[in-house]
């Protein structure tokens, strides 16, 4: 397997505040990787560093090349980032949000609309609703659907289960797995629900105050003492 995404000693800062103090991680093509960590550990910042929505230093390679340019350039390379806070265009309609998801693509989108419609059937009825008036969980689903519209090579999810009902958490992770298996989408997921994240992912990283504290195959991490205590609760 080749590495699709590689971070080497990545630093990131908000103004004068350093949030990442040298993070290195690798995501192989076709793999699902989970990132765990306490509140404020820098998980979100790691994803932001990749999509270049935060000031960053260090080396980031995507498909063999150094990642350059702003977020729009990263998106155009096939990276879909569902950000913390979901990045909903609240003033636009559901349909327009989905359309924007496929902004970087040309050609017919009918199939894609149909596909996200099959994942989340309610989207069809709500296509003209102003996205900002959706419920929290609905917005979360819309954000995922929008990312699917992009048909990305690398899908980056920031706490996709946030605000989702239990039934849907399972459903969303099933969809992600399906995309991964059927279409070979590589996934990098930040998740507080470590239980389900570790089940899904092949590899996992644990961040602590802006550094990688632990990493390895998820099966191994599941057995790790501190992971069990802090993230799994047994």
């Amino acid at each position: 397997m080749t590495a699709l995404l590689e971070l080497r000693d990545v630093h990131a800062r908000y103004g004068p505040v350093n949030a990442l103090h040298g993070v290195s991680l690798t995501v192989d093509e076709g793999e699902i990787v989970a990132v765990l960590g306490a509140n404020g550990a820098g998980k979100t910042t790691t994803l932001r560093a990749i999509s270049h929505t935060v000031h960053r230093d260090g080396e980031i390679r995507f498909a063999g090349n150094a990642l350059r340019g702003g977020p729009e350039a990263v998106a155009r390379l096939g990276v879909a980032h569902v950000p913390e806070g979901r990045g909903t265009f609240s003033e636009l309609t559901v349909w327009e949000n989905l359309r924007l998801g496929a902004y970087t693509r040309r050609g017919n989108l009918k199939d894609d609309f149909a596909r996200v419609g099959s994942y989340f059937p309610w989207l069809e009825d709500r296509r003209h609703q102003q996205a900002g008036t959706l419920s929290g969980g609905e917005q979360q689903m819309l954000a995922l659907a929008r990312a699917f519209m992009q048909r990305p090579r690398l899908l980056m999810l920031d706490e996709p289960s946030l605000g989702l009902a239990p039934l849907l958490v399972t459903e969303v992770f099933r969809i992600v797995q399906e995309l991964n298996e059927n279409e070979g989408v590589t996934v990098l997921v930040v998740e507080q629900n470590a239980h389900i994240a570790l089940q899904l992912a092949q590899t996992a990283y644990v961040l602590e105050v802006g550094r990688v504290a632990l990493s390895g195959p998820s099966a191994d991490l599941q057995q790790h003492e501190s992971v069990r205590r802090s993230y799994l609760g047994y």
Binding site: N39, G40, G163, P166, L167, V169, S230, Y231, L232
Partner: protein, 245 residues
């Protein structure tokens, strides 16, 4: 008598029925869980209680009196404080200032120094005294949720409405939250109406659980009972308890 009760509350947005003849009650000194699938109307219920939305029919009473004529900014004076699902902080203000705004209704004749002291105490209570002087924008999501909680608590409410307080917290932090909620109930004699998808938390701390689906009540009762209700399992839980392991 119930501290808060919704009676036959109904609210529609165009074709969407967000609340459909909902009746629920929060008894004084208890934690009531409000759960249901996404879009079931939980947040809408909060917005109705805090008068951000106007009910089409039905009634909301607090302390036995209808609050449907109370303007939204007076709700907190009655003793109802809330947090928001997607976080509504004052981003350009510091954490402390955010909490001080929460003390707006209690600080009219107070000395500024006292108000500050009680705000700082509240921040310590929710465990984020160390970030008091940071700007609210840019805090980790979990911390923002706690700032909201502090802002609500500093107004000395009798009823606290919490909309997904466990969002963005890991397992360990959720444990702390559960302890904290119990303390609020047992030591401060607060009543809490809790919306949460984290079943583990809801089932452990709630005295009573109310389940909505498509704006309609599908179950209501003690946690253990609700948890076994087939309707709830089908519509919401999906057979197994998430995070219970």
């Amino acid at each position: 008598m119930a501290l808060l009760s919704l009676q036959n509350a109904t609210l529609r947005f165009g074709g969407i029925v967000a609340l459909d003849d909902v009746s629920l009650a929060v008894e004084p000194g208890t934690i009531a869980g409000l759960i249901g699938p996404n879009g079931a109307g939980k947040t809408t219920a909060f917005n109705v209680i805090t008068r951000l939305y106007r009910l089409e029919s039905g009634d909301v009473t607090f302390d036995g009196r209808s609050i449907l004529r109370t303007p939204p900014s007076r709700i907190v004076r009655l003793g109802i404080a809330r947090t928001f699902q997607n976080v509504e902080l004052f981003p350009t203000m510091t954490v402390l200032e955010n909490v001080l705004v929460g003390a707006h209704t209690t600080s009219l004749f107070e000395r500024e120094a006292n108000v500050r002291r009680s705000a700082l105490e509240t921040l310590d209570l929710v465990g984020i005294g160390n970030v008091a002087h940071l700007p609210a924008a840019g805090l980790p999501f979990g911390t923002m949720k706690r700032v909201e909680m502090a802002r609500a608590l500093v107004s000395k409410p009798r009823l606290l409405l919490l909309d997904e307080p466990a969002g963005g917290l890991n397992h360990e932090e959720v444990e702390e939250l559960a302890l904290f909620l119990r303390r609020l109930r047992d030591e401060l004699k607060l009543s809490v109406l809790l919306v949460e998808h984290h079943m583990n938390l809801v089932m452990r701390v709630s005295d009573h659980v109310h389940v909505l689906n498509f704006g309609r009540t599908i179950a209501s009762g003690p946690p253990a009972e609700v948890q076994r209700d087939p309707k709830v399992i089908e519509a919401y839980l999906g057979g197994e308890l998430e995070g219970a392991a």
